[in-house]
Symmetry: C2
Subunit: 212 residues, 2 copies
C-alpha cells in the first residue's frame, strides 16, 4: 500500500496489439542508475522495490525531485511488510493486530483503561473499540466494570487469560524483530532509531504544525 512503491513491472509482459497512442514506451533504465544519495555511510546500496519505483518515476517525470520517496516510500513499505510478517503469529493466536494492540495497551499501562482511553491509546475510533471489547469480553480476555461515580464510563482490564496471551506473544514478536534488525550493525540500529525518532517527533509535533 501507500503512495508510490509497488513492484517494478517485470517486463511489459506479453502485450498485445497497438500500444496506447499517448506516451511512447518510455522504458529504459537510462534515468540515473543507482542510489540518488549515498551519504557518508559506505554501505553498498541494495536494489529494493522502492529504488525500482523511484527509477520509474524519474523516467516519466525527470523534472521532479523524487528524493523524498527514497525515505517515505521505504518507511511505508517496511511497515507494510513488517505488519504482514507479524500478523501471521497473531492469527495463530486467534487475534487481529487491532485486538493485540488493545490488549497490549492494557498490559503495558498496567492498569485499567476506559474505552475512550483505549481508543486514544490505540489510535482508533471509539466505535471500533466498542466492537473489539465486545468480542474480547466474550472470549474472556478482558473484563469490564462500570465506574461507580460516573455511570457513563466503563473500566476495562485484562483477565489472567488475556495477560498470559499478551505475555506469550510479545517475546515472539520481539524475537522476530530482532532477527530482521540483525541485518544492521549496532551503530546502524542506533542511528536508525535516532533518525526515526527525529522524524517522528516532527510528525507528532503540536497538532497541525505540519499542514493538515
Amino acid at each position: 500500500m501507500t503512495a508510490n512503491h509497488g513492484r517494478p513491472a517485470p517486463g511489459a509482459a506479453h502485450d498485445d496489439t497497438a500500444a496506447t497512442p499517448e506516451d511512447p514506451p518510455v522504458r529504459d533504465e537510462a534515468a540515473a542508475r543507482g542510489p540518488s544519495q549515498d551519504a557518508a555511510r559506505g554501505a553498498s546500496v541494495q536494489d529494493d522495490t522502492v529504488a525500482a519505483v523511484v527509477r520509474q518515476w524519474r523516467a516519466v517525470h525527470p523534472d521532479l525531485d523524487t528524493a523524498p520517496m527514497e525515505i517515505i516510500g521505504r518507511i511505508n513499505r517496511c511497515a507494510a511488510l513488517l505488519q504482514q510478517a507479524e500478523d501471521a503469529p497473531l492469527r495463530r493466536a486467534g487475534l487481529s493486530r487491532a485486538e493485540f494492540d488493545l490488549l497490549g495497551a492494557l498490559r503495558r499501562t498496567g492498569h485499567e483503561l476506559t474505552p475512550g482511553e483505549l481508543a486514544r491509546e490505540t489510535f482508533s475510533s471509539g466505535a471500533a473499540v466498542t466492537k473489539r471489547l465486545k468480542q474480547l469480553t466474550e472470549r474472556g480476555l478482558v473484563e469490564r466494570r462500570g465506574d461507580t461515580r460516573d455511570r457513563r464510563v466503563a473500566h476495562v482490564r485484562l483477565t489472567d487469560a488475556g495477560r498470559e496471551l499478551v505475555d506469550g506473544i510479545l517475546p515472539e514478536q520481539l524475537a522476530y524483530e530482532r532477527t530482521v534488525l540483525a541485518g544492521l550493525d549496532g551503530a546502524g540500529r542506533g542511528d536508525l532509531a535516532v533518525l526515526l525518532c527525529e522524524l517522528l517527533s516532527r510528525l507528532e509535533g503540536r497538532p497541525g504544525a505540519l499542514r493538515i
Copy 2:
C-alpha cells in the same frame, strides 16, 4: 496502528474505587529514563510516543529486550502518521490511497497494465483491483480494452483525465514529504535512506528467507 506504540496514558485519569487486584500500580518513570541507545550521532533524542510506550513496556517487563521497538515501533508510527497526512489531499481530489496507488502504478510504468499486474504492482488482491477499476472506469480516469489474443486478460490505461489527476497530486505529495524531511539534515536523510534500504532489502529478501 501496529503492535505497541499508542500514546502514553496521560495520567491514570480519574479512576474509581478499587484498583484491579492483580498488578499493583506500576506507574513511575523510574525505568531507565532517556533513550536506550544514543549512537555516535550526537543529536539529543526527542521524546516521542514510541519512547513513552517502550518505557511502559520496560516497567512491566524489565527482563525483555525492548530495543527493537525503538525502530520497528517508530517505522510503524511514522507510516501511520504519514499516510494520515497524505490522505487528506487525496480525499480532496476524491481518491482513496488505494485508488491513487493504482493510478500511480499506471502512470509511472508509462504503459498499460493488466488487472493482475496492477494487483502485484499495488500489493493488493485481484478482487480489490477489480472493484477499484470499476469505479475508476466509471469516473473516466482509466480505460480498459480486451487483449485480442487472450480474451481472459484486459489491458488498463490512464485516460488523459487520469494522468492529469496523478500529475497534479504527485508534486503536492512530494512537497509535503520534503517539508517533513526538512527536519533532518542532508547527511541524516542520506543515512536514513540507506539504512531503510538495508532493512527493506532484508524484509523483501527471497520469499520465506525470514520466517513465514
